[in-house]
Amino acid sequence: MTIILLVVVPIMAAVVWWLLRQTMNVRPWTEQRPGDALPGDGVLSLPPVTIGLGVFLAVATSLFALLISAYNMRMEAADWTTLAVPKGLWVTTGVLVLSSIAMQWTRSAAIRGRIDRVRMGLIAGGVLAFGFLAGQLLVWQQLHASSHFVTSNPANAFFYLLTAVHGLHLLGGLWVWGKTTAKLFRGAAVGRVRLSVELCTVYWHYLLLVWLALFALLLSTPPRQNACTPDAVAICGSPR
């Protein structure tokens, strides 16, 4: 549970810091004097969706941190056999990085108002993201073909679970991406999609970071072989 605390504690610390700024030198009980300017009220000059995305990322971070915490705790058990990281993941990781780069490029094109580049970039980013998902599915298939079933070992189960949750988040992003792209190709001006493009980019980078963290987790899991011999079945449970 250390990992999740590493997420929650900074968030709570940020809230404390923010609240300190709200309360310092403020006397809530005093009324406005006539002629006084209305006090600054701490509303940030950002569109609500931007803040909304920020809050959502905090929720998603909590989710992934909890999964990683669970992974770390479950890893200690005797029946754990570390999954050799499939080579295909290096490729999919590369594709996801490219996808993020494409989105970043699109974002700066959107800020400069270059509609042709925005179109190209968006398509590239989206296609690469779909490519990443297809790659993950392929890796699943290969694992399955080599008898690494979801039930045969907790390490496998976690692998499928983590990649699935990450993939579903990306699919959610692709849904917004799809709406934005459709809007653009129906002839919307760049200004109308600029915000969506920016937020998609942030989300893409976030999911890239999450993926790198998950990938690093898989790579850094110490190799361990299930110690259960047929004689020890009574303790370790039945082998499959």
Binding site: T50, V59, S238
Partner: protein, 593 residues
């Protein structure tokens, strides 16, 4: 990099968006069914939550019938007793209290109290309600599937939750887990709205430090919920996988009916960690809104400013923050390292400090106030008593050595009902009596209200006080029957019968409350815009009930905090938040010079 201003993301304060830009539904269905108006969504949430809460209330009555008069009611058997316990607990905690406080009160009150026209993402808000409704329907469906609903206890501990022998180990538990997952998704959509609305849609002059404590309570509770619910989500998904695919996240190697099951090496304790990482904050998810609301009720009906406003805000934050590092006090009996036990006992006791501060502040607010014993005030005072009571037994249970013998006894049941069941429910009642006039334009009937209060308040004491003694005797919780157990004296049975009688009385008086809600809607005394003489913005709307857009053409501007009651020299005993300051002679001189 230069940042060019652009159309869609040019920042317009939500508070300055014109009335015309709101989405205006034309049809009845658009207005009241597929509504994007936070007020309608709030009412939808409330009605759904109360309806499902009634189911849970009936279940508690059935359980009490069994405990009070064992072997009299043939339709109750050991396995459906467990199903009733489970469904009662889960419905009450998640589908009633959480949904009502955040979805119901949050939606109705946040935009009105911060001076906004609506939530910032009305469409997402609407979806949030429909997903919640879907989750409720899934849960209700689980009563009717083969094997019935799950009987694993509201904590759903594996391995028994998904093993044959536990009622509802197939369909029941799956529906429960899926329903929880949907609840969480729906809540997250709503939660984003509550947080961003408080942060970004406050009207001009409404600084954070001028927010009513109700908003503070709901706001912090939402933050807790957004961070804690993922833990329940993760555990629900992993358990569903264990059940359906046969993974072993939580399931250890097991022999059941002489057969090795296909499970291997999983960790039930891992589930407990995840569950309680959600479960403890959940207590505060329902408590913090109650704290906030009760502060406002007390201040309004005592005609006095709240004592220590900033301290109250900080206490809400401190309680919320600390609630993330106490979860393992629910796991003292899981065989943890004694040093961990010591750590969690310490943090648990530390939470008592900000909590006690709040209690003192409520009492000090009452002190020499011009107290009006209106029905909301009665419930608020009832809350203080009940909450202190439950809080004190919490101090006992927070200590490892005291908890070990009392764990899983009726003492625990008495404790948590006092602190997190009855207390928040009393606040909910108080809040309904308080805000019903704003929602409907009519007052709830006072006589019925007072009767409802006294029977509920005294009745719950009659129910839960004796339960502490049963716990001392060692009467276990979640037991269908304890007769014939040597260490439990016969007299325990008479006590149980008495508790059941009290339950039936308390249960039936809730019907009177429902009747009052309906009757007053048609026959209640018209309330006017501000029947209690309150300062907060929801009482200053041009129409009661407020129309879509809340404040008419102009949004209010806020000049003061929410607690200007009985200000010396003011003409009335309250000054609304949006009333501009009086021009004094001195100011007039300033202006001319």
């Amino acid at each position: 990099m230069s940042y060019v201003a652009h159309d869609e993301s040019v920042f317009v304060r939500p508070a300055e968006v014109g009335e015309m830009e709101l989405y205006h539904p034309k049809t009845f269905i658009g207005k009241y069914i597929w509504s994007q108006d936070a007020k309608v969504i709030g009412v939808q949430y409330s009605i759904t939550a109360i309806a499902v809460g009634l189911v849970a209330l009936v279940l508690s009555g059935i359980m009490r019938l069994q405990l009070g008069f064992p072997h009299v009611f043939s339709f109750i058997n050991p396995s459906n007793y467990l199903q009733f316990v489970t469904m009662h607990g889960m419905i009450m905690v998640v589908y009633l209290l959480t949904a009502l406080f955040l979805g119901g009160f949050g939606n109705y009150l946040i935009p009105l109290m911060v001076g906004a026209r609506d939530m910032v993402f009305p469409y997402v808000n609407m979806i949030s309600y429909w997903v919640y409704l879907f989750a409720v329907l899934l849960l209700m469906a689980s009563f009717f599937v083969p094997g019935g609903s799950t009987g694993a206890g509201w904590t759903l501990y594996p391995p028994q939750a998904i093993l044959d022998g536990t009622p509802g180990a197939n369909w029941g538990i799956i529906l429960m887990l899926v329903s929880l997952a949907f609840f969480i998704i729906g809540f997250t959509m709503g939660g984003l709205n509550y947080v961003v609305t408080v942060l970004q849609a406050r009207t001009r002059g409404m600084t954070m430090m001028r927010l009513p404590l109700t908003v503070w309570g709901i706001f912090m509770a939402t933050i807790l919920a957004l961070l804690a619910f993922p833990a329940l989500f993760v555990s629900a998904i992993m358990m569903a996988l264990d059940q359906m695919l046969g993974t072993s996240f939580f399931m250890p190697a097991l022999i059941s009916k002489g057969q090795h099951l296909d499970y291997n090496g999983g960790s039930p304790v891992l589930f407990q960690h995840l569950f309680w990482f959600f479960g403890h904050p959940e207590v505060y998810i329902v408590a913090l809104p109650a704290f906030g609301i009760v502060s406002d009720l007390i201040s309004v009906h005592a005609r006095k400013n709240i004592f220590g406003y900033r301290m109250m805000v900080w206490a809400i934050l401190a309680i919320g923050g600390l609630s993330f590092i106490v979860w393992a006090h629910h796991m003292y009996v899981s065989g943890m390292n004694p040093y961990f036990g010591f750590f969690f006992a310490t943090t648990t006791l530390i939470i008592a400090v900000p909590t006690a501060l709040k209690v003192y502040n409520w009492v000090l607010t009452l002190w020499r106030g011009d107290i009006r014993f209106n029905v909301p005030m009665l419930f608020a005072i009832g809350f203080i008593f009940t909450f202190i009571n439950g809080g004190l037994t919490g101090l006992f249970l927070g200590n490892v050595t005291v908890d070990l013998p009392l764990s899983d006894t009726m003492f625990v049941v008495a404790h948590f009902h006092m602190v997190m069941a009855v207390s928040p429910i009393l606040v909910i009642f108080g809040a309904i009596y308080h805000w019903y006039p704003k929602v409907t334009g009519r007052m709830l009937d006072d006589t019925m209200g007072k009767f409802h209060f006294w029977v509920t308040f005294l009745g719950t004491y009659a129910i839960y006080y004796p339960m502490h003694y049963l716990g001392f005797l060692g009467v276990p919780r979640r037991y269908y029957a304890v007769t014939g157990t040597d260490f439990i004296p016969e007299s325990a049975q008479s006590l149980n019968a008495g508790i059941t009688v009290a339950t039936l009385v308390v249960g039936s008086v809730q019907l009177l409350f429902l009747f009052n809600l309906v009757w007053s809607y048609f026959r209640g005394r018209p309330s006017g815009d501000n029947p209690w003489g309150a300062t907060t913005l929801e009482w200053q709307t041009p129409h009661t009930p407020p129309k879509h857009g809340n404040f008419g053409a102009e949004l209010p501007v806020v000049y003061r905090w929410a607690y200007d009651y009985s200000v010396p020299g003011a003409e009335k005993d309250f000054i609304p938040q949006n009333q501009p300051p009086a021009r004094t002679a001195e100011d007039a001189v300033d202006a001319t010079s």
